[in-house]
């Protein structure tokens, strides 16, 4: 019967010769390949000490920004929580008292601001919804942890460090 593609090859299996039967040359050959890789650049990196370059539009952990005077930008308007498709964001607003003007930019601020990092899908809609340019997903990957409760990030982890420190 004629084959369809004419690509068929007949393989003849011959018995192994002496050198092949000895296996030593094959072992040496294999070791040579292994040795060759010792001198090559490794393909892996030791994360997290070393980090690869990220894409510019990579979306990682959220950070709540401060303005040029170090005041918190977030005014707890709730638009991020509204836009969040995973419903990961909750907040409680409070009124700025007299003497706190250097801490918060507007008369209302978020007293509690929590993001459940297990729910978050890092879509960036909160960033888009924010009218005050207060939230950006510009952080690193969210680190792993053992307990679910430790994935609820509060203001202590989210708010940027003050400028003068």
């Amino acid at each position: 019967m004629e084959s369809l593609t004419n690509k068929r090859k007949l393989i003849e299996s011959k018995p192994l010769n002496f050198l092949e039967r000895a296996y030593l040359p094959a072992i040496a050959q294999g070791l040579a390949i292994t040795m060759k890789h010792f001198f090559r650049k490794p393909v892996t990196i030791s994360y997290p000490e070393e980090k690869r370059e990220y894409s510019e539009n990579f979306r990682g952990m959220h950070s709540l920004k401060r303005d040029e005077n170090g005041k918190e930008r977030c005014t707890a308007c709730g638009l991020c929580a509204l836009s969040c498709p995973a419903e990961a964001i909750t907040m409680i607003a409070a009124e700025r008292q007299k003497g706190e003007e250097h801490l918060y930019r507007e008369e209302k601020y978020a007293a509690v601001y929590e993001i459940n990092m297990l729910r978050c899908i890092f879509c960036g809609l909160c960033e888009e919804a924010c009218p005050k340019e207060a939230i950006y997903l510009d952080g690193p990957h969210v680190p792993s942890d053992y307990l679910r409760k430790d994935f609820i990030y509060g203001k202590d982890k989210l708010v940027e460090a003050p400028l003068n420190q």
């Binding site: 005014t75 707890a76 308007c77 709730g78 638009l79 929580a81 509204l82 419903e87 607003a93 409070a94 009124e95 507007e106 008369e107 209302k108 009218p131 005050k132 053992y146 307990l147």
Partner: protein, 331 residues
């Protein structure tokens, strides 16, 4: 009397205004109104958002009216033909009106408690331009406490006079009004006298913007995170029948307002006891969830249906998980 609004004929009583005739038809052709309030006598004619074009005056005198007219103040004539959304002139004028209303209105919607149910926000969204041409500083005022329950943010006021009419007509004597003239006009109680009356809380409901807000609800939550529920109670105050909307967050009643109809006008005014003092579920007889338009932000993320359970409850597993959790947290 027969009038035609945007090509839709309607039969109305003599003396009806064009706005009310349009409301009898309903739908998209109803002109928006910021100052007109059907429950308040003499309201309207201030904001000019309800401007319409009268292309035929009446059957007897078919000449068109020379200028755009305020539909809340103009009564219909037999055979009148009115153009609202079919006239590009009206749409253009309305855009300008929104720009004028927003000249001195601060863009602090992220802070304002009215956001989400604000008439001016809706108006700006539907009819306004994206940008303003105004280059000067907006006028600012200190916020004033009118009594311990109501707060006045004069910066946000658009001078619709609704609260003045409310105080005049619903309460027995009014203490607040408009001071100064023109661009300097402001709502004030004069030497910040407290408005102290059993129905004074209604000025919060009639305010189309966030100028008069409920101090007991101040910054408690955003409107769209709360759940409106219709309820009533036996109010012993004459003139108040206790029909309200409760705004729930979880189990807690955050605020109480009067029931509003589709034009954002209250159905019945409620007394201050109902509004400010009865904030427990036990005080009210619940009628059911309030119908919210699916276009409103208040309806977002509120699900009518009960979602099917995702995980089958397994008491043995739950117990084991609890033990595991305790062991882990102890370490």
């Amino acid at each position: 009397m027969k009038v035609t609004i945007d090509g839709i004929p309607v039969e109305v009583e003599p003396g009806t205004t064009i706005l009310n005739a349009a409301r009898q038809i309903g739908g998209d052709i109803v002109p928006p109104a910021m100052c007109y309030y059907s429950k308040l006598k003499d309201s309207g004619g201030k904001c000019r958002t309800c401007l319409v074009k009268v292309s035929k005056g009446s059957e007897k005198d078919p000449r068109p009216m020379p200028k755009l007219v305020a539909s809340c103040r103009t009564t219909v004539m037999d055979g009148m033909e009115v153009q609202n959304i079919t006239s590009p002139e009206v749409i253009e004028a309305r855009k300008g009106i929104v720009e004028i209303l927003l000249l001195n209105h601060p863009l602090d919607c992220p802070i304002c408690d009215q956001a989400g149910e604000c008439d001016l926000q809706n108006l700006g969204f539907e009819h306004g331009a994206a940008k303003t041409r105004y280059e000067f500083d907006r006028r600012t005022f200190e916020k004033i406490d009118i009594g311990d329950k109501i707060q006045l943010h004069m910066t946000r006021c658009i001078l619709c006079y609704r609260c003045v009419f409310t105080a005049d007509q619903i309460t027995d004597h009014r203490i607040h009004g408009i001071l100064n003239r023109g661009d300097h006009s402001e709502i004030s109680t004069y030497i910040t006298a407290a408005v102290d009356n059993d129905f004074s809380g209604n000025v919060i409901d009639v305010c189309p913007v966030g100028a008069l807000t409920d101090k007991t609800f101040r910054f408690k939550n955003r409107v769209w995170f709360t759940k409106p529920v219709e309820a009533h109670r036996d109010c012993d105050h004459p003139g108040c029948n206790g029909k309200v909307t409760l705004w729930y967050k979880g189990e807690e009643v955050l605020r109480v307002t009067a029931r509003k109809d589709q034009y954002g006008e209250v159905e019945e005014f409620i007394c201050n006891t109902c509004r400010f003092d009865k904030k427990k579920t036990a005080d009210w007889i619940i009628e059911g969830p309030r119908k919210v338009s699916n276009k409103s932000v208040i309806s977002s993320n509120h699900y009518d249906f009960k979602p099917l359970p995702v995980v089958k409850t397994n008491p043995v597993l739950m117990e084991a998980n609890k033990e595991q959790f305790e062991r882990d947290t102890r370490l």
